[in-house]
Amino acid sequence: MASADIYADGLRRDERLERLKLFGLSSPAILLVLVILVIPVGWLFFVSFIGADGQFSMENYERMITRKSYFRIFITTFKISLFATALCILIGYPLAYFMSQLPNRIANLCMITVLLPFWTSLLVRTYAWLVLLQKRGLVNDWAISLGLWDEPIKMVHNMTGTLIGMVHIMLPFLILPVYSAMKQIDRDLLKAASNLGASPRRAFWTVFFPLSTPGLFAGALMVFVLCLGFFVTPAVLGGGKVIMVSMKIVSNIELFVNWGAASALGVVLLTLTVLVLWIASRFLNLENIAGGGH
């Protein structure tokens, strides 16, 4: 029909116009991503292939393979991240569970206390741990006066201090998605389990825990990935005894002014992180990390 054709033309034009408009509206965002993400990361890649003499070379990567110390640094980084994540799960999951069972008003209060450290400077919190954990610090003094141990224990400038600080700072990143997943679990499901003959313990392990795992995976992944690139806290509390990739990057720049070597480390760390995320994404929906659950 002739009249139908006329409208078809007009409608097609409208469609094209709308798409152009949408593209126009999203262009600032695209530009922003380009400027703050694509260009710097591209530059990072480029610099990592520049040798000490300013020429294109693979020496930065070769060094990483040939020198054992680099390998050790990556192992340490992954080991600390894994430990910190495990500790966050052990502390954060029960806490999130506890909060999810509280009446909303009290749970919100608890949530504020969980989030409170977020609003304090990372550096301040890290130095606070330094003060608390040092040889003549509050923790040692109290423990000794309570008779928990006799001699002051070394709790900073080593793995213990690093882990304590990192876990403290990472905990909210685990609690938030876990809590959000737990809040979404329909309480009737637990009633149903109980009605069907499950003891409270059985009901927890067969119904509640499996349904909370998307949040747990999301939180654990977030903590792990953030730990991989963590700098301030391990640097201060590790006291140079615990070397992670991020610290090596800093020393490469500050001590040796070797941008190429630092960039290569960055590229490898980035690649490994993306790899971890990619593997994880095959098992769970990454949208969970945003805290919205599924």
Binding site: D188, K191, S194, N195, L196, P200, A203, T206, P210
Partner: protein
């Protein structure tokens, strides 16, 4: 499946009270459910019907009372040890398990051997007409199918008591009507004592052996569907079950009068301070000729609604009350219907003349 049930259990609830703050959710409720009976708790929202069901299931701990399944006292027994099946309003199916996983869940908890589990899952699914659906995921099911899975899960371990909390309220009307009949058949087949909660009076009338009408945490009346509809114990029940209008009547000794006119009734008159006459729309009819055996009222037609198979007429009574009456429409009767404003004579059989306690409950 019927062969394995060692007979259904009667439920005996005595003096069950539950208060939330100052509100009596349950006010000294006593209830006997006969073995194998289909009993419905019917009431408006907030009446306490669900609270009573939750007490039976063990999810709500009452302040006082006694609850027996058969001879066994259950009031302090934990829910997971009560061995009653329950269908939840929103089905409460485990989303991380398949259909078979859900239905087999109570069997796995009871350490039933694996081959028997799969056998019984399939049998239960067939009972609810979902044979072969075992491997489906829960989110692949329609509302009606979820309903059936929930039902299969609650009967697969052969509980001798089955509780249902508004199980059909999330379904569309057509499916709901069909499920009502199906649930009824299933109950006849399995024979377990069933307590069913609903706010839908038609559903209650369709399915139940007996209905307990609940309001303000008390049982207003416990009777068969017919008893409830024909002989409501009080104004609340009469109002809640079916459509009804009430006319104030007076008592003069043995004589009951409306607007000075004596009423003939074939039912006993309750011994109450104030009485009302209950009028059901389908029981009042337009009088064609005067007879001495029926009660007659003079009224004015104030509204007439043509509904295809029937008509609905509103008529203003001499005391100003507006009542409704419904009649079938057959060939030729449309033209004979009165017009708005016409004077009409209404007739009510003595057997339909039901007087009830007009006091508030």
């Amino acid at each position: 499946m019927t062969d394995n049930i060692q007979g259904a259990l009667p439920i005996t609830a005595r003096n069950i009270t539950k208060t939330y703050g100052k509100v009596h959710a349950l006010d000294d409720v006593s209830l006997d459910v006969k073995s194998g009976e289909f009993l419905t708790l019917l009431g408006p929202s907030g009446s306490g019907k669900t609270t009573l069901l939750m007490v039976l299931a063990g999810f709500t701990r009452p302040d006082q009372g006694s609850l027996k399944f058969g001879d066994q006292e259950m009031i302090r027994t934990a829910p997971h040890l009560r061995d009653v099946g329950m269908v939840f309003q929103n089905y409460a199916l485990f989303p991380h398990m398949t259909v078979a996983g859900n239905v087999g869940y109570p069997l796995r908890l009871r350490n039933v051997p694996m081959p028997e589990i799969s056998q019984r899952i399939e049998k239960a699914l067939e009972t609810v007409q979902l044979g072969g659906y075992g491997t489906r995921q829960i989110d692949q099911l329609s509302g009606g199918q979820k309903q059936r899975v929930a039902l299969a899960r609650s009967i697969v371990f052969e509980p001798r008591i089955l509780l249902m909390d508004e199980p059909l309220s999330a379904l569309d009307k057509k499916l709901r009507d069909r499920m009502q009949i199906e649930l009824r058949h299933l109950h006849e087949k399995l024979g377990m004592t069933t307590v069913y909660v609903t706010h839908d009076q038609r559903e209650a009338l369709t399915m139940s052996d007996r209905i307990a009408v609940v309001n303000h945490g008390r049982i207003m009346q416990l009777a068969t569907p017919q008893g409830l509809y024909e002989q409501p114990a009080n104004r609340f029940v009469a109002d809640f079950i079916g459509d009804s209008t009430f006319l104030p009547v007076e008592r003069h000794g043995d004589q009951i009068t409306y607007n000075g006119m004596p009423l003939k009734t074939s039912h006993p008159v309750p011994d109450a301070a104030s009485l009302v006459l209950m009028l059901r729309p389908e029981r009042v009819r337009l009088a064609t000729k005067t007879t001495k055996t029926v009660n007659e009222f003079q009224a004015t037609a104030s509204e007439l609604v043509y509904q295809g198979d029937s008509y609905l007429m509103y008529a203003t009574m001499p005391d100003g009350t507006e009542i409704s009456l419904r009649g079938a429409i057959r060939q030729g009767t449309v033209a004979a219907l009165p017009k708005i404003g016409d004077h009409v004579t209404l007739a009510l059989e003595p057997s339909d003349t039901v007087l009830i306690d007009g006091g508030d409950v």
